[in-house]
Point group: C2
Chain length 292, copies 2
């Protein structure tokens, strides 16, 4: 984490970091920093030392970091800790947007022809169809605002494009998704398969449950890390939590310093674009237009 | 299909093929074959011409091919048609082994360190825990007999190795899998994740539902086809149907001639090893040992 933070500061001279951790880690950071960096990287010590295990350090760290954003002392949270704890802390500490049951994690994957937004990748593991439809709307808004895609194409991940293929959820979802009005002129383009997430070209946003999305993401990210990405555009290996009132980026628990730096860079970019309020406004306007 | 059949015959001088298809395709095959090949490649014309659409050709083709195996006129079925139709035709035409509800499709994927058997990859899309446990046993028997793994290690695919992670199915499955006695000295080694299917080394057999398995397989196979496999061992891009009383190999609907030839080669190898009766005997002996 310390190496990642230093890399992120080198890449972005305007960046300021607040590192949240236990007292020992804060001391290690202070020792690792030169005088110039001490002004840009502050540390926030977790004082509610948990008695039980190391996992609790991560959870109280995430809670402390979320609180710093809620209180306006930081603009975004980046976590490489327990995903479930981060989602729960962010949902409670920052608040969910109206209509969001389980905020989805959205990851960007490189494809042969560009990039694709895959969601959910680990938050809503047993979603119903209505949750998938909400995720389709959030993903479309993200692609329009952050990836600057005009009229994003949204697909549903399944295992065959003939009618009747797929599991229970996927057999009922297409009817609801077809009837869902998406923001920003986005269109539901129907069913896509695992290979479409690698090839790209068919959809800008791919919607799936958090279990399947997480398995596919971890498989493809590891394949790309070991044998090279499919295209020239290599997005950060990090996921964005959508549907909460704040900027939250989740990196892998085993993230390399480069990955953590890329996640920090993504969070800074999202904050500077005011992406989270813009997505919220797009969802709200769309609700109003759709309801009227 | 014709190009794949010719490639398979070139690779294996002892191979004999029975090509099943509509009358026009049979004529095209006869014209494409030289006199030497005409003795090794016979054609079987589908006469129950369907009135409706091309999909029905595939289904009646699969039914005809399964019937040829059931009647002893062929030793194995290889299909690049509709997976669902192949599974259903094989289950009905060849019979399921005792205790098999939905025969699983097992695919072999290359890993950084060797190969891994992934099942199910598209047959049982909404399995219960008992079905996963049966698939664990079938996969262990396949790895022992076909991959010649001593004491195969069987893992359950999920999205985090901490207790309580995963969806409903994955939260209840570990307890049943831990209590399942596996054949051939195989052991259930616990939870694995998407990256383990790429890295290898942790499990020889990875069990999952047919939806997640199909999505991951299509993603990884396409990534490996586009940017290269992770290791030097490149298994056929084909899946084996386990738990039916016959040798059945399923290739992709859009299989290249090389893939189809590899699938045919796999089917011939399985037949020569008498793999299907050996797996059945291992499951039966194990049942008896386990019940007594």
């Amino acid at each position: 984490v310390v190496d990642g933070a230093l890399l992120a500061c080198q890449a972005d001279p305007a960046l300021q970091l607040l590192l949240v951790g236990p007292p020992e880690a804060a001391g290690a950071v202070r020792n690792a920093l030169g005088p110039a960096d001490r002004d840009r990287i502050r540390t926030l010590t977790i004082h509610d030392r948990p008695a039980d295990n190391a996992g609790s350090w991560v959870e109280s760290g995430v809670r402390t970091a979320v609180l710093a954003v809620a209180e306006g002392r930081a603009d975004a949270v980046v976590s490489a800790g327990n995903t479930g704890a981060t989602v729960t802390s962010a949902a409670l500490g920052l608040g969910r947007r109206p209509g969001i049951r389980r905020p989805p994690l959205a990851a960007v994957l490189p494809t042969l022809t560009g990039r694709i937004l895959l969601l959910d990748v680990g938050s809503a593991v047993d979603p119903d169809v209505r949750t998938l439809a909400t995720h389709a709307r959030l993903g479309a808004a993200y692609a329009a605002i952050v990836h600057e895609v005009t009229a994003p194409r949204v697909g549903l991940l399944t295992i065959g494009t003939e009618p009747g293929k797929g599991d229970r959820l996927r057999r009922t979802a297409p009817e609801i998704l077809s009837a869902t009005v998406l923001p920003s002129g986005a269109t539901y383009i129907g069913l896509v398969e695992g290979h479409d997430v690698v090839l790209g070209g068919k959809a800008d946003v791919v919607v799936t449950d958090g279990f399947t999305g997480n398995v596919l993401l971890k498989g493809l990210e590891t394949a790309y890390a070991e044998i090279g990405p499919p295209g020239t555009d290599v997005p950060p290996r990090a996921a964005v939590l959508l549907g909460v009132a704040g900027t939250v980026v989740v990196c892998h628990g085993a993230a390399a310093p480069e990955d953590l730096a890329a996640g920090i860079g993504l969070a800074a970019d999202l904050h500077r674009r005011a992406a989270v309020p813009a997505i919220a406004a797009m969802m709200d306007n769309h609700e109003v237009a759709h309801d009227s």
